[in-house]
Structure formats: C-alpha cells, structure tokens
C-alpha cells in the first residue's frame, strides 16, 4: 500500500495525467475554441458540427442571453438587443464610442465608470460582460466535448491591442470563469501553428486582417524560439470596414439618406457582407435590398467595383507593414514567407495587394479562420505542463510605446515600442517645487510626443514625500510589462523610500469592485458560494508554493542554504501546511505570504545558479559563491 504513495515531494504524483487546456480565439466576427488531442491541435465543433461561433450576443428580458448563430440570425429584427463586433468596444471609453457613433446601432447608458454600457431589454451591459457570454459558451463546449474541467486557457488578442484592451479581455475571461494562462498575440499564435507544422526557420511575416482589427508581425523562427522582432497594426481596421464601405455605396446608389433606421442599416450590412463573400469566387453579384415594406432596390456589384471600394482600406494596412519591417531592421528580400491570417484575407484583392507589396505569393495553407485558435491551443498545451521537454518559447514585444506626462503636456518615453517582453525599466524624476509633498503621475501609451496624441492609461499620485528643496527629491518610476503585455507601474522617492504602486487599471477599465459584483451575480448561489471559492483558491495557491519550495529544496538546499536558513524555511512550510488543512482563508493567505518572504532569497539564488550552470556547465555547488 505505502509503495503507491512514494512520490517525491513536489513531483506530480500522476505524471501521465494530461491536463486539459484550450486556446480561444475571441474574434470580432467569429470565435473558436481549440485543443491538442493525441498531439494534434484541432478546433472543437458544437453539437451540430459548427466550429465557428459568431461573436454575437442577443439579450432578452428574463432569459439567458443567446450567443452565436441564433443571435446572428436575429440581429436584423432586434438590432438594439443584439450585440455584434463587441471586440471593437473592448477597453474603449465613452468618447471613443462616440467616434464610432454612426457605425453602431446601440443605445449607450451613462455609467459611473468610464466604461460604456449598452442598453438592452435585459439591462445595461458592458463590452466585458458581452465578451464573457461568448467565452462561457466556448468554455462549456470544450468541457462537454473533452469531458473534463478546464485547467486553463490561452486567449488571443490582436498584437496591436493596447493595455486597456488587453485588461478588458482578461477581465472578460475571469468573468467567464476561465483560468487565463496567457494572453497571446494573434499573429504570434498563427506563427506557432504554421511554424511547428512546417519546421520553419528564418524570418516570417504574419499579415492578420480580421473582422475588426489588423495586425502585422515580423518574427524570426529558430529551433522552437519564436522571436517577434516588430509588430504593427491598426486596432480599428478590418472586414467590418469593407462591409461599411459596400453598405455606404449601396446607400448612395439606392439614394438612402443618413437618417435610415437601425434595422435597415443592419440589413444593409448583412447584405454587404454576403456580397463581399460571394465576390471571393464570383466576378459579379446581384444585390436585392429590402428598403421598406414592399420597396426594394436591385443592383449589381462587380469585383472591380468592390476592389475600388476597399482599396483604400487595404492600402491603409500596408503602412504598418512598412513600419514593422523597418522597426525589425529587416529588408523585404530577407522575408522568407508571408502568412495570411484572418477571414478578411480570403478577399482576393487583399491577397493580390499584399503579394505585390511583399513580392511573393502569400501562404494560405492553414484555414485563416482557424489558425489563431490552433496556435493558441498548442501554447496552452505547453503552458499547462503537458510538454515538459518542448523547445518552444515565444518572445513577444510591446506594440506601443509607454511613457509618462511631463511638464507642458509632453511625453517622456520610458519603454519604446517593439521592446521584448517582459521588460522592466525605471526613470528618475526630480521634484520641481520647494516643499513638494506629492507628485501626480500620468501614464500614457502611444507614439506621439504630446500627451493629447496618446492614449491615457492611468493616473496616480505618489504622496508623503517629505518637504525638500526643489530638485532634491528624486522619484524613480518603474514600469514593468509582463509576458501578457500588461503594465504595472510603481513610484518611489529615492531618499526616503516612500512608495506607491498600481497595477495599471486603465482609465477605461472596469474597477475591481465592478468585476467582483459581476462575478457575484454570475455565480449560482445554490451550488457555489463566494467564500468557498476564495478558500479553494487560497488552498491551490498554498499547494503550488509548497510544491515549488519542496522541489527547490530537494535540488539545491545543500548548495545554497546554511543551517539557520534551512530551519527558517522548514518552520514556515510547517506553518503553511498547518493552515492549509484548516478553513481559515485569511490564515492560509498569511502563511503563504510568510513562506514567500522566507524563501524569496533562496528562490532567487536558485534561479541565478540555474542560469550560471546552463552557461558554464559547472555544478551549482561550485557556483554557490557567485
């Protein structure tokens, strides 16, 4: 009996058990979920065999929202309650939405935070909640298909998403009850799906034109390492804009005024989209538009006319391509392949102009709708620990420069665009007034050198600076961007150590309390309650830390710790084990913090030693004095 329990402390007791993880492509038009089964990445269909889930949510009073094809079919009849292309609103403020104004048939409510809320017959909903409904459906689909709870998910975002848009996506996943392993940039995900398939080496360009976003990434692939050299794009450019261009053309031809109602606009957009898709194969299509009861307009749209309508949009995508190549310091002829991603790259004119620009035939061998989800599934499989021996490593970059506001509304850049992640960088500023006791810090993202031309991410204040002469107080501001591309900022007065830090909660983000409330509302109180959930989370965290420390002790304790240090760690571990078996969430939390603190130095030494060992081939024991 006892033999069965003889696993080393910290090692996974069931090494052959696979953890279930998925990749999710949360798209503007369609969303997908994929997973790796028997070594092969595949997208998961619903019960009726449909892989693509239209990213459309229809709200109705008193019932759960409808998501997907049914909602999409109802969009023309129920335009105000049916939300499509919500991705375009993620992380956006009320002002941004006003700019999109005439393109959106919804009613917006004023909210206490800067996040726009759409009024539906089921109440006002934020874009994060709408996205969460889509994610919930995909999560459920995966769990039913795979017959297990999900360990985690990789959710993709456009590479060109800014901090607010990323944070909003992460919030939506949290609201849907997903454990986010990583936010992965869509072009990088596509490169993973392609690269691993083709054993690719060299410089690749991924051209990703989706329903509402455009990304271009330049990557160098080398033995499993996917190194993004530069990325560029436009987070408001995609197939939707082509539909709008066609719809506007129809309006001109059919002499429909700007006062057309929401239902007619929805019908026009639907017909425009259908015509665009048909023109992928056909040279000419006949349009039959229902203007009002018993009033229709008929017309012809040729592929040549379509090309004329969309050429400016495609041209708009080529400037970021040029800039990304330049930022990557790569010449056109060094590019080995151009990979086409996103449904909008099915449009022949897109392939033609992109082919001309890069002077080669673009690759379209993997379904452009599925490739992102497949790449995300491969990464999820690795992150969850199913492939301990893999060589795969993704090195991504931040798409937009980060800085802070200085005197006169100027921007001091702290992290330039296309810096490899993760990155941490500090900059010192001095107080500018005698006796100044506070400094307000305004974090912005963008390429312009004036604040008004950048996106405001957050404002916070460092207080409690002891009064000093102007220029004597030195404030160090530290920016850290993690692998998900999410920023945290801290500020510290150097001479006194007064500190202030924030996880950048974007100006356009939901507050923690709002998310908490939504979570509470979404949890089924009969089967689950918040306290129990929080206790479980603490227990999982405790197990993780205990595991990690046990493994590290078994490996390096002798080389890296003296007797007193070892004893202190053992005591802290014992305390956490004691708290872990109880039900006091706070006690577990405190014991975790205590063990974390006691082992911080040891963990850092261990990692440093690992680095030295890898480079020099020497053993850790030989390196303990370094």
């Amino acid at each position: 009996m006892a033999l069965l329990e003889l696993s080393e402390p910290g090692q996974t007791p069931r090494p052959h058990e696979r953890r279930v993880a998925v990749g999710i492509d949360l798209g503007t038009t369609n969303s997908l979920v994929a997973t790796v089964r028997s070594g092969v990445a595949e997208t998961l269909p619903d019960a009726r065999g449909r892989h693509l889930l239209p990213s459309v949510v229809q709200y109705a009073s008193g019932v759960a929202p409808r998501v997907g094809d049914d909602a999409k079919a109802n969009a023309v009849h129920d335009p105000f309650n049916t939300i499509a292309s919500v991705k375009r609103l993620m992380g956006r403020g009320v002002d941004d939405v006003k700019k999109l104004g005439n393109q959106l048939p919804y009613h917006f409510a004023a909210a206490e935070s800067a996040v726009p809320r759409i009024v539906t017959s089921a109440g006002a909903v934020s874009p994060v909640e709408v996205s969460a409904e889509i994610l919930k459906v995909l999560k459920q689909r995966a769990e039913e298909t795979l017959g297990a709870d999900l360990e985690g998910a990789v959710v993709t975002v456009p590479a060109y998403f800014d901090d607010a848009q990323r944070q909003a996506t992460k919030d939506a996943a949290r609201l849907a009850g997903l454990n986010i392993l990583r936010l992965l940039n869509e072009p990088t995900a596509a490169a993973v799906a392609y690269g691993l398939d083709h054993q690719a080496e060299g410089v690749y360009v991924v051209y990703d034109l989706g329903g509402g976003t455009f990304d271009v990434s330049v990557l160098r692939l080398n033995r499993g390492v996917f190194e993004v050299l530069a990325t560029g794009g436009d987070s408001a450019l995609g197939g939707d804009d082509m539909d709008h261009a066609i719809a506007e053309w129809i309006m001109r031809e059919a002499q429909i005024g700007d006062d057309a109602d929401a239902m007619l606009l929805r019908r026009l957009l639907r017909d425009a989209c259908v015509a665009k898709e048909q023109l992928t194969d056909a040279q000419q299509v006949t349009l039959h538009v229902e203007l009002a009861v018993k009033r229709t307009w008929d017309g012809e749209l040729s592929r040549a006319k379509l090309n004329e309508l969309i050429d400016p949009l495609i041209q708009k995508s080529l400037a970021p391509c040029r800039r990304a190549l330049r930022d990557a310091n790569i010449k056109l002829e060094e590019v080995r392949e151009v990979v086409m991603v996103g449904g909008s790259t099915r449009v022949p004119r897109v392939r033609e102009l992109v082919g001309q620009f890069f002077a080669r035939l673009p690759l379209t061998t993997i379904d452009p709708d599925k490739v992102v989800a497949l790449g995300a599934a491969i990464q999820a499989d690795v992150l969850v620990g199913n492939k301990p021996d893999t060589d795969m490593l993704l090195l991504d970059v931040n798409p937009l420069s980060l800085g802070i506001e200085t005197m006169g509304g100027l921007v001091e850049q702290i992290i330039p665009r296309n810096t490899t992640l993760p990155v941490a960088r500090g900059q010192d500023f001095t107080t500018y007034k005698d006796g100044q006791t506070a400094m307000s810090i305004h974090v912005v993202q963008g390429e312009r050198d004036v604040v008004s031309g950048c996106r405001s991410l957050a404002r916070f204040e460092l207080r409690g600076i002891p009064p000093m002469a102007a220029g004597a107080g030195r404030i160090r501001i530290l920016f850290q961007v993690d692998a998900d591309g999410l920023l945290s900022v801290s500020a510290k007065e150097q001479t006194t150590g007064v500190e202030s830090s924030i996880q950048v909660k974007p100006s356009y983000g939901l507050t923690d309390r709002e998310i908490e409330t939504m979570l509470r509302e979404s949890i089924d109180h009969a089967s689950d309650d918040v306290a129990a959930r929080q206790l479980r989370e603490q227990q999982v965290d405790a197990d993780r830390l205990l595991d990690a420390v046990s493994v590290a002790l078994a490996a390096d304790a002798e080389a890296l710790l003296n007797t007193a240090e070892r004893a202190a760690i053992d005591t802290a571990m014992q305390a956490l084990r004691g708290a872990r078996v109880g039900t006091d969430e706070r006690a577990i939390k405190n014991a975790i913090a205590a063990l974390d603190k006691t082992t911080a130095e040891f963990a850092a030494r261990g990692m440093n030693a690992g680095i030295r060992k890898a480079l020099t081939g020497r053993t850790i024991a030989e390196l303990k004095d370094i």
């Binding site: 620990g385 090195l395 941490a424 960088r425 963990a603 990692m607 680095i611």
Partner: protein
C-alpha cells in the same frame, strides 16, 4: 532581492569587450530565456512567476544593450567610468559636423526633388558608409584600450548617435514619400 550586481557581459558569460561574437550572444540569450521566461512558470507559484518576470526582464535588457554596437559601446564606457555626455558631442571635429549639416540639407531638399527616390537612396548610401567607417574606428579604439583610445571611443559613439538620428529622419522622409 538577491540580484548579485552582475554586469550585462557576465550574464552571458562573455568578456567585457566591444568585439563580441553576436551569434554566441544570441545563442546564449535564447538558452537563458528558455530557463527563466515566465511561460516556464505558468504553473508555478506566484513567487516563481514574479522572479521569472524580473530575471527575464533583466536578461532582455542585457541582450538589447549588448547586441547594438552603440548601446554596447556606451555601456562599456560607463563600466569604465568614462563620462558620456553632451559635452563631448560639442567637441566633435568640425569636418564631421559639416558633413552632417550637408546631409541634413540634402535630406530637406528631397521632398521637392523630381528625382526624390534616387536622391534618398544616395543619402542612405552615404549614411551606411559613414556608419560603417565610424563603427570600424570605434572597434579599433576599443581594441587599443588606453585612456586616449577610450576618449576617442567616446567621440565615435557621439558620432554614431548623430548618424542614427539622421537615419531616423531619412526614414521619415522615406515613409512620407511612399505613403503619398
């Protein structure tokens, strides 16, 4: 935190020298990131993930600095306590500054020129040549490695900064030409 004040060269187990083997640097960089990148700790404790972010960020910073010749030179000068400031830029030889001014003027005239593309490509060629020469002189100065050589290295670095700025401006003109 225990981050032994190892300099960027030591991180990659390289001698602190201007002449480095870029392939070796890149190879070691990838090897290190394979070990410490936060993705390797997606399933780890908060502590491990925090540490991984810090270490990976430090390695990224080191790699970014060493792979670029100008950044590498600046870093080496700083390691040797050579002051790198605008003062040294002001003492650059007049001949170099004159050439810079002429190139800037030429660049300013490109937009109006009927041979804009050709003019611009000539300017890029001149910038390339100038950069190559200066990098060569910089490498030679570091190879000599005495006090006078370090001063002249500093001067070359300042020149390279000028050249880099000029290249940036030329690229802006190029962008303007291609998008109109």
């Amino acid at each position: 935190m225990s981050n032994p004040a190892r300099n960027f060269f030591e991180i990659f187990d390289l001698a602190p020298d201007f002449a480095i083997d870029l392939a070796q640097l890149t190879g070691r960089y990838r090897e290190l990131q394979r070990l410490v990148h936060p993705d390797k700790y997606a399933h780890g404790s908060d502590q491990e993930r925090r540490l991984a972010v810090q270490m990976a960020a430090n390695i990224n910073d080191a790699f970014r600095t060493l792979k670029d010749p100008v950044e590498r030179a600046l870093y080496l000068l700083r390691l040797q306590n050579v002051a790198v400031d605008d003062e040294s830029a002001r003492r650059l030889d007049p001949e170099f500054l004159m050439e810079q001014m002429e190139l800037r003027e030429a660049l300013g005239e490109v937009r109006g020129s009927s041979y804009a593309a050709q003019d611009l490509s000539n300017i890029f060629a001149t910038i390339d040549k100038l950069e190559k020469q200066t990098l060569g002189a910089l490498a030679a100065a570091f190879a000599r490695d005495d006090a006078a050589a370090l001063r002249s290295a500093n001067e070359h670095v300042q020149k390279l900064r000028f050249i880099k700025r000029l290249r940036g401006e030329a690229q802006e003109v190029e962008e303007h030409l291609t998008s109109h």
